[in-house]
Symmetry: C2
Subunit: 240 residues, 2 copies
């Protein structure tokens, strides 16, 4: 049985300001919860409608109607967990760092976090306008990768200007990425879904790069930001 | 004003069987419709709530409440078009062909169609279990690319067995794709989101390939199928 105050706390975590206030976030589904439990994340509470074989002392058995009340999904799974947000590690300036300038779509951010994890990139730096990585849709899309990638939110311009590494930015009219010698350490900046990289951030970029388009059709579309990130990370890492 | 039979026809196109029966499909939103109009697709009907500067003789001005009645979106845009499905072109066996074995997610198929378009790949071949490319969510995700890529649905095993090109398949345990000499002509098979490539299709594959994972974490997750397709197409095309 859930108390009114528990329900209020959990449903409030749908909003970024309450996730920030309480330093908590929600994950749903047995698979996602199990993956998060394998990391050093601290479990705050676990609500399940049936025994799910997770070794958690703060597990509470609840009814399906109670789960519906607290779930963010239209068809709730049989488990919902509340985790404490991890403490932020400092940014490691060795190796590659991915920087996102106002990426808004939770699915795109989730995919990019999974890509960083796959390519062994420890640090993802997001502008304050980028969607929150503890947004429930991002957590659902990252599939546990969120515990292996450090995501910092900060003001990009001072961060980039204070950094000594080369700063690559993805543009429609940059140099062909397939023809460049890419370094093992550096920063890769990806822009907003509709507007690309902002003017202020562009000023800090040292190398503009592009994924060339093949085929002879003249079209204005660009690749989706998550897809472009996949291809660029593959290019940076393939020779290492 | 829309007639009952028009409403019935349009809303029926949400389902694959009626899209097949009538050889029609729906696209929504001015941007998507304009892109589709630029191709040689035949417009069957265009319904708009305001003048949208599309030169179409079969345009019908309707009320917002009528648009709500026929739209597949929760927040309808101000235009909905019905197009005739294009006639299928024969498969061109020169160059690269992408084959999908039971890809179910409309967003993934949409992204893969956009990738084929970007990388100049004319032919996408889908198993009959793959989501329909005229599904409204796929049309929304392809952003006009659907008019530049020929998508055939067929029984994969006879198609693959009747083909003389090398057949590459994406597996978790294949050869490192970064270390291979990849041909300009060939087939690249991508599997289902949860189960990968089926046993029957696997038997027809000549070269198993993998995108290596970087970093030292032992995790069982794979890359998302659209993301993996992006990286593999980039590898096949980067040297050409």
């Amino acid at each position: 049985m859930l108390s009114k105050s528990q329900i209020k706390l959990i449903t409030s975590l749908k909003q970024k300001k309450y996730r920030q206030k309480h330093d908590l976030f929600v994950a749903e589904g047995v698979k996602t919860i199990k993956e998060l439990m394998q990391s050093n994340l601290e479990l705050y509470a676990l609500y399940t409608t049936e025994e799910i074989n997770i070794d958690a002392k703060n597990e509470v058995l609840i009814s399906e109607s109670d789960l519906k009340r607290i779930s963010f999904l239209t068809s709730p799974n049989n488990a919902l967990a509340v985790f404490k947000k991890p403490e932020l590690k400092p940014i490691n300036e060795n190796g590659l760092i991915v920087v996102l300038d106002a990426v808004r779509d939770p699915g795109n951010l989730g995919t990019i976090i999974r890509l960083c994890d796959w390519f062994g990139i420890e640090n993802l730096v997001c502008s304050n306008e980028t969607v929150d990585c503890y947004n429930p849709k991002v957590i659902q899309a990252t599939m546990g990768s969120i515990t292996r990638v450090t995501v910092n939110y900060l003001d990009l311009v001072p961060f980039l200007k204070g950094n000594k590494s080369p700063i690559y930015g993805a543009f429609m009219d940059g140099d062909n990425v397939y023809k460049l010698n890419l370094p093992k350490s550096g920063i890769i900046v990806m822009g907003n879904e509709a507007n690309g990289i902002s003017k202020e951030v562009e000023a800090a970029i040292t190398d503009k790069i592009s994924i060339p388009r093949f085929g002879d059709m003249q079209v204005t579309e660009s690749l989706n930001v998550a897809t472009a990130t996949a291809i660029l990370l593959s290019e940076f890492k393939r020779g290492t």
